[in-house]
Amino acid sequence: MARHGLLIDYEYCTGCHTCEVACKQEHNYPVGKWGIKVNEIVLETFDKITIDYIPFPTDLCNLCVQRTKEGIPPACVKHCQAGCMMYGPVKELVKTMEKKPKTVLFAPR
């Protein structure tokens, strides 16, 4: 199967933590185990303070095969409150990336 991945539009990622908990519920991960972890980047190096969030899929991320094989989006993608995550073949996601700045593509496996 073609490599799949997660595309994050971090212009709109609000750092709401939904992806983290959606993943925990889906995989029943206990405290301390994360399939995805949200990182906060606060910088004062510009003329204003910038705040960005980037969720990072860990080695535990299986891209929710148990869902996607049934045609259901990964738990994080489906529940993301900002609707800023996409799942699909890397080849397709790259096309979106060409058009949309402030995006990051993860191919965890």
Binding site: H17, T18, V21, K24, I51
Partner: protein
């Protein structure tokens, strides 16, 4: 996902209160296996959240099946605060409560019992229903100084516009952002709110993000640099509590530069000339000095907002907690009327309960419709605060909280004997001057607490504890704007009962003649009548329904169509039929009919001497994505994300004080001292610290004197009562109290 295998069923329902905690509205699919909730998924067919969910609902299984949940009724076995409880049956619980409260009613009158709730959720319906069945006018958010949560804004909108309005994110349409009737706002002022972590007042925070994706430019008014502020064209980082001055300066620019909507102002408003005169004293120069916001930014913000059409304001609770909250709300609401943004697509849409169904009274008018004029009048005569504050007498039906706690202590003008405390952790949550509320509640003869977990309040003061059901366990309904929805039960946990169930049973015992409903469903079906639908029908439809075109609860431009007034004439539901910049209602209620600015009770301007000793403004109450007020600290997946009671302190301020990130500090003023963990960050204003509220440690000893650690960490101990606005509503000093911060040598 195995949908129908192994006896797994999926129940579509609406989220509201216990479990998520919040103001609700989301559609969810509860996966239930062998009678047990195993998973929660967002309902992609629900217009509110379109499949998305917040962390709290995604952790619902940890809440519902938490080992510490209250599962059966209990009575106190030892002294109050000893933490000794005996399990009792529901019959015994109901019999005891009936007997005790009837005795009190016979001896002291029904008004001597307070019916206390927390923030306005599903509870408003059942608790007001119970209070009125019992005969008490004293329905109150006890502890919430100035009733400073939405009520002031509601009152201001009701008085000046005759209706309530909210940012229009297409929420009245099934198709939402794709609805042809809707257009996105071109500009949004996010005023004193952080829409990311929570969903205030029947508004899903991330709707703002959807508008941003569709081109909305954002102006943020916030003392913190939030994510939203970092994505804004203009960030007005103002001094807490000065929002009223800012609004008046913006009105100054909009009026003097003739940026207002002449057609709308001419045809649909009253008192423009008086407002014009009033705002002259609020020049951007002067207001810049008051608010700390640069003059140019104030002017630019006013221009950007006024020149964008449609434009909208999304405001938050800090508006209510400004000094003179009701007049601050009035000033901000005038901005969307000056610019003609009221009830147009992408503006401020008039929000009415879907189909006119009433879950709980938002105004005296609805109160009267539910309970009859005579009865309401009689009750109002005795309501705490109604004699002093005409707005308290004439808007909604709340007793005045600051006066209520004083009355418990003084017995003047009549004694208070008992408290029915439902869905509110007063001592770990909203109560300003925590110690005063602790002493007051201890003084009462009889206290009942209805909740999902033991908390500092139940431990300290309860005589009887009743276990409340979470939303997946209960039948309820919701018409907080749109859609009309029902909460559908899917599981049963312990002996928990819903607030409606508990209160209906007791209401029948207190007032057997008047209460005719035999079941909660019967009550709900009765209330749903204006929509011509039953609970079961709505449940079968996926739990929700939007009002149709032409109904007065459906937008837009209803003032042109004669859909807002009882007489069917075009115009607004106000005394003049127009939006009143100069408010006849405020005049009738002995208030200044025009908006003005007043300083916080403690501030660099009002109390410069105090500032020398306590140089920082303590703003409390920033929201967390994983908590709802004082809830969820015991939920593992939530606590992991936001583990400690912090204080946000600016990088430079911290350096001056020798405080490093992660170090424990004291936050203190003349009222007391709490411990917090410093979060050193450039995102908070150097002269302000942010102290999140609602903190207690459920993992520590709940008995006296520890009470889950509240005396160590609850910031509301530092906040006074008695700072309410001249109207009686608004002005709780939760964001404006002065403090100092110093390093704690030893760790907690």
């Amino acid at each position: 996902m195995n949908k129908d295998q192994e006896g797994e069923k999926i129940v579509r329902t609406t989220v509201w209160s216990p479990g998520a905690g919040c103001h609700g509205g989301c559609g969810v699919k509860l996966h239930v296996k062998n009678g047990r909730l195993v998973k929660v998924e967002g309902d992609e067919n629900h217009p509110w959240n379109q499949g998305r969910l917040c962390p709290r609902v995604l952790a619902l299984t940890q809440y519902v099946y938490h080992p510490d949940r209250l599962l059966y009724p209990m009575k106190r076995a030892g002294e109050r605060g000893e933490g000794k409880w005996t399990r009792i049956s529901w019959d015994e619980a109901f019999d005891t409560i009936e007997k005790k409260l009837k005795e009190i009613r016979d001896q002291f009158g029904a008004e001597s019992v307070l019916f206390c709730q927390g923030t306005g959720r599903d509870i408003g319906g059942p608790i007001s229903f119970l209070a009125y069945a019992y005969g008490s006018p004293n329905w109150v958010q006890l502890g919430l100084a100035g009733q400073s949560c939405y009520t002031p804004r509601l009152a201001a909108m009701f008085a000046t516009q005759g209706d309530y309005a909210v940012l229009d994110a297409g929420q009245f349409y099934e198709k939402r952002y794709d609805a042809p009737e809707w257009t996105p706002p071109k500009c949004i002022i996010v005023w004193a709110n952080n829409p990311v972590p929570t969903c205030p007042d029947a508004f899903h925070g991330h709707w703002v993000v959807e508008c941003m994706k569709r081109g909305a430019k954002v102006i943020t008014v916030d003392t913190r640099t939030t994510w939203m502020a970092s994505r804004s064209e203009i960030h007005l980082q103002i001094r807490p509590g000065t929002d009223g001055a800012l609004a008046l300066a913006m009105a100054h620019v909009i009026i003097n530069e003739k940026l207002y909507d002449k057609e709308f102002v001419e045809n649909w408003t009253f008192g423009f000339d008086e407002l014009k005169e009033r705002v002259q004293e609020y020049t951007p120069e002067r207001v810049s000095a008051i608010t700390w916001a640069p003059k140019e930014k104030i002017i630019n913000a006013a221009r950007l907002y006024a020149k964008s059409k449609p434009a909208s304001i999304h405001w938050g609770l800090p508006v209510d907690q400004c000094p003179e909250g009701t007049t601050v709300a009035q000033a901000i609401a005038h901005l969307w009327c000056l610019t003609g943004n009221l009830d147009i697509p992408g503006g401020e849409v008039i929000a009415r309960p879907a189909f006119g169904v009433t879950t709980y009274p938002f105004s005296s008018h609805e109160l009267t419709a539910l309970y009859g004029e005579e009865f309401v009048k009689k009750l109002t005569g005795k309501r705490i605060g109604a004699k002093v504050y005409p707005m308290v007498a004439n808007f909604r039906g709340w007793a005045q909280p600051d006066m209520a706690v004083d009355q418990i202590l003084t017995g003047d003008p009549y004694p208070i004997k008992a408290a029915w405390i439902q869905t509110t952790n007063i001592l770990g949550g909203q109560a300003a001057d925590t110690r005063k509320h602790y002493e007051a509640l201890k003084k009462l003869d009889f206290n009942v607490v209805v909740d999902t977990f033991h908390n500092p309040t139940s431990m300290a003061v309860a005589d009887i504890v009743l276990p409340a059901a979470t939303f997946p366990e209960k039948e309820s309904f919701r018409s907080w704007w749109a859609p009309l929805s029902v909460v559908v039960p899917a599981i049963k946990v312990g002996e928990c009962k819903s607030d409606w169930e508990i209160n209906l049973e007791l209401a029948r015992r207190f007032n057997p003649g008047a209460i005719r409903y035999k079941s909660v469903k019967e009550l709900i079906n009765d209330r749903l009548k204006p929509a011509g639908v039953t609970f079961d029908e709505l449940a079968a439809e996926g739990s929700w329904m939007m009002p149709p075109e032409g109904h007065s609860s459906k937008p837009y431009r209803r003032y042109e169509k004669g859909l807002l007034r009882a007489d069917g004439k075009p115009g607004f539901n106000t005394p003049t039929g127009k939006v009143e910049f100069w408010s006849k209602k405020y005049e009738e209620w002995d208030l200044d009919p025009l908006p003005y600015y007043d300083e916080p009770p403690e501030s660099e301007v009002r109390t410069p001497e105090l500032l020398k000793e306590y140089p920082l403004v303590m703003a409390t109450g920033r929201r967390s994505s994983v908590y709802f007020h004082s809830e969820h600290r015991m939920i593992p997946w939530m606590r992991e994300i936001d583990p400690d009671p912090i204080v946000e302190i600016n990088t430079k301020t911290a350096a001056d004080l020798g405080i490093g990130d992660g170090e424990w500090v004291y936050v203190e003023n003349r009222r007391g001292r709490i411990k917090r963990k410093a979060k050193v960050t450039p995102t908070i204003h150097p002269k302000v610290v942010m102290v999140p509220h609602g903190w207690w440690y459920p993992e520590t000893d709940g008995r006296e004197p520890n009470l889950f650690g509240i005396w160590d960490i609850n910031c509301n101990q530092l906040i006074p009562t008695g700072t309410q606005s001249r109207s009686g509503f608004g002005g709780g000093a939760y964001k404006t109290t002065l403090c100092r911060v110093r390093k704690l040598e030893k760790e907690r």
